[in-house]
């Protein structure tokens, strides 16, 4: 056998290769650094009378101060709602014998994938003063005058809180499931009751995860644009994000103010995200350990039905508005109640085949999301593989740069992209919007794919190298096929996120490049509820289809792992 061995190919190569890493840095510099720097530049250079002067000017404006107050208030109330609901539901699902928890668990996660703008539209429909189902019910129960006004700080916060509950839920659930159950058992053996154990042992141990989720929800709500736009503008309630939008879009456009507000929102977000990362330092809550132990569920006795009721309340609060939206969309005119004689598909026909804005929005979003998710996954795979599977210099910098957009609210990124690319041929095309999406969700993609790559043992690709495969062959033949199901999930997640995106699109769309969410907001302005409702239902169905696919994939992935 030794006799036929071919001679050792002699190909000494210089130890460092800078090409790949330089290319990655160049791309990240143009797409991540440049837009953010543009905001800084606009704030400091364009400001009349110097930055400090302009800054003081902007923040002594009555409207700005009101918006600031509203932003903080809506975010605080949202966090409160999300924290109470998220922690309670996570504890019920992870630690108790609540009935049907296997069904309730995925249901609790649904808002994570849906559009909060459609949510806001639904709430608008059920709480409209005369024909809204919720307000009819409230009047019926509590008499005339008991009307919920959704066009308020409270209304905005309610919708946001319900939609961001899954964030707290997910973080807490992860923390609870990775917690050693013997910690709780020890508390029970020491004589503490279920409730006492939950409050004294379980919660404190999950505190970093919960706090970190709350911070994330807080900054996300502070930077969010869609819901305050839909619910705030009719009620003259501004937040910082709607104010940024208006300073660019009102006549005359005030780019300096927009830049200063964006900069402030960015710095605020960055500081809190930094705090959140610090809280979670060194903890990976999604680690799948080989141990298949499932901690024994706490026996709640008859109280388990109370737990079930609490969880159902959340699911009803999420589902009911969407059902109302569905009902409205199937009626040729809404009179405050469903009538079979008014049943029609005309609204769907209209948004699919007649209404130009809706048609364009659907078409553009499908293109942007399909191409964008594909490109996004490709970029994230390259970054994750370079960071995890090479020894190239400068890898930590790639990690940092690719997670930076997490600290930039969509509206701020939109402003940055607008200011950075307005003079280029990219402006006014769907490709600029797509680029903004990819940059904004780069951290999500990289984080997902990073953990997929890390789960593949290094020896699997090292053995390919020893079998004669080049680095690229080893990645293409071994690592990528092994993480393929996870890549498809990540693709779907990006697709979902892109389909419903509002903030960056709002800053970047022009006539002809409206996305689905933009089209929805536009047709809400001039079409009856039935038509916008139909469009909202279509978007929701599209998103739900993706959710089902993601669930199927993750179940498939888990069962494949279990069979190993």
């Amino acid at each position: 056998m030794t006799a036929v061995a071919s001679p050792l190919p002699h190909s000494p190569r210089p130890i460092a290769h800078w090409g790949v890493i330089a290319a990655i840095y160049a791309v990240l510099a143009v797409t991540v650094i440049y837009p953010i720097c543009t905001i800084f530049a606009e704030s400091f250079l364009r400001a009349e009378g110097g930055f400090l002067h302009a800054f003081t000017e902007v923040f002594s404006d009555r409207d700005v101060l009101d918006a600031l107050g509203n932003t903080v208030l809506t975010s605080l109330i949202s966090v409160l709602i999300a924290a109470v609901l998220g922690v309670t539901l996570a504890w019920l699902v992870a630690r108790t014998d609540m009935p049907f928890k296997r069904v309730l668990d995925p249901l609790n996660m649904i808002p994570f994938y849906l559009s909060s703008v459609v949510g806001a539209l639904s709430w608008q429909i059920i709480s409209s003063p005369k024909t809204g189902l919720l307000n009819q019910l409230l009047v019926h129960l509590f008499g005339p005058g008991a009307v919920l006004s959704i066009y308020s700080v409270g209304g905005i916060a309610l919708v946001l809180g319900l939609f961001y509950t899954p964030y707290v839920y997910l973080f807490t659930l992860g923390s609870l499931q990775s917690m050693d159950p013997s910690l709780e058992e020890a508390s029970r053996m020491s004589g503490a009751s279920i409730l006492k154990t939950a409050l004294r042992v379980t919660l404190p141990l999950s505190a970093p995860a919960i706090l970190s989720a709350c911070l994330l929800v807080f900054v996300t709500c502070a930077g969010i644009f869609g819901v305050p736009m839909v619910l705030g503008i009719p009620g003259q309630v501004n937040t910082l994000s709607t104010l940024i939008f208006r300073s660019v879009n009102d006549y005359p456009a005030d780019y300096a103010t927009a830049a200063i507000l964006s900069l402030s929102l960015f710095v605020f977000t960055a500081v809190l995200i930094g705090l959140q990362v610090w809280l979670l330092r060194g903890k990976a809550f999604t680690t799948v350990t080989g141990k298949g132990y499932r901690p024994a569920a706490l026996k709640l006795g008859p109280w388990r039905w109370a737990g079930f009721a609490v969880n159902m309340v959340y699911i009803v609060l999420i589902m009911a508005p969407f059902l109302a939206l569905l009902m409205v969309s199937l009626q040729d005119a809404w009179t405050g109640g469903f009538e079979w004689s008014r049943l029609t598909l005309a609204n769907y026909h209209k948004v699919l085949f007649v209404e130009d804005t809706a048609k364009r929005g659907l078409y553009n979003s499908m293109i942007i999301s399909t191409v964008g998710a594909t490109l996004g996954v490709a970029v994230c795979v390259v970054i994750a593989l370079v960071v995890n599977r090479t020894k190239l210099p400068g890898r930590p910098g790639v990690s940092v740069l690719s997670t930076m957009p997490v600290a930039v609210p969509g509206i701020v990124l939109g402003v940055g992209f607008l200011m950075a690319f307005v003079g280029t041929p990219l402006y006014g095309t769907i490709w600029l919007i797509m680029l903004a999406y990819i940059v904004h969700y780069l951290p999500t993609g990289v984080r997902n794919i990073d953990s997929l790559v890390q789960a593949v043992s290094r020896e699997l690709d090292e053995s390919a190298r020893m079998s004669g495969a080049t680095w690229r062959q080893a990645m293409r033949r071994i690592v990528v096929p092994l993480i393929a199901p996870g890549l498809i999930s990540t693709w779907l997640l990006l697709f979902v996120t892109f389909i419903r995106e509002v903030s960056a699109s709002m800053m970047l769309f022009t006539f002809g490049t409206e996305t689905m969410s933009i089209a929805l907001i536009r047709i809400m302005e001039y079409e009856p509820y039935g038509v916008s409702g139909a469009f909202g239902v279509l978007q929701t169905l599209l998103l739900l289809t993706c959710v089902v696919l993601i669930r199927m994939l993750s179940n498939f992935g888990l069962s494949a792992r279990a069979s190993k």
Partner: protein
Amino acid sequence: MATALKEKPSVKPVPKPEPAPVEYAVRLENVGKTFGTAAAVKDVSFSVPVGQTLTLLGPSGCGKTTTLRCIAGLETPTAGLISVAGRPVYDAAAGIAVEPEKRQIGMVFQSYAIWPHMTVGGNVGFPLEIQRVSRAETRDRVEKILDLVGLGNLYDRSASQLSGGQQQRVALARALVFEPRLVLFDEPLSNLDANLRDRMRTELQALQARLGFTAIYVTHDQQEALSLSDTVIVMKDGSIEQSGAPKEVFQNPATAFTAKFLGYSNIFTGEGVLNSRPAENGVTVQAADGIALQGLWRSREQARGGVPATIAFRADALTIGPAGKPPLVGGVNLLVGTVEHASFLGTCVDYTVAVGDLRIKAVGPVDPSFIQGDEVCLTIRHEDCHVFGTA
């Protein structure tokens, strides 16, 4: 045999200019590897003659796996020179670092690293596929090597349905299928149960004899190291502690660390006195109050008296007998003590014997055996007691 050869003169090759014969399959010169500021491998040099087997032995963290990975090219050293088959694959001075796939080295990983998304045939055929060997030839060679490792019937089996032993064999087949002249083994047997481990060890030796490749093993299992290799290198903290033939290293450990690692379970420290008995390098070590043990100085540096020294001896080098009847032989240390603990191990009995303040581990036959509280007499030959300088 000699006459048979003479009858076939045509076998003799036509003399032609050939490159200088490659003496060594692998040669390392002053190889170092640091991770940040931590040195994992320090100034390691050794070479392995073609067709021989070398084992890197040591506790976890001693640098043996890093050294192996430097040879493979999976780690890039920070200093030194590595050549494979006479050609440099890493040279810090010349800035050479050949990619692992260009080194033509087979490797069996500790986890076996079988690709779960391929069949057995796909796994083993992968190296040939990369080399663009034709489909038919690949199939042929894969089937041959699978037969050789005893998996002839598993070609189309999915790799995720293999037992640990089968995975081991697939990994071995994959490392050998492209006929590398050097094969690296990273703890190849550590994930197998004891029975399977013995069988695989024998099979590995047979395979190597048949195929003639040079092998480097990394292991922390001394039995594996001693039984498989022509040369053993004991590593400690990134440096070579001792190297030599297995028997030589086992019988003459050069340091207390090597002795301890090779299962010298009795290690005591005390003042050493040179006394030239029974040989020139004889030393007496005051192991405890009133207990002096006579042994031979084994450290590389010159023997010195009046300093702390460590004396080490194996439990199975002791002879255990009843206290009343000391054996009438010379040249031994004689110790009288009480059995503190005895555990029956089937073929022998493990004892802990209290001799003054010392607790001595001994192994004795099943018959006659002693129980707790028995007074016993332990003897050990002077030359079985190894004395090292205590740094």
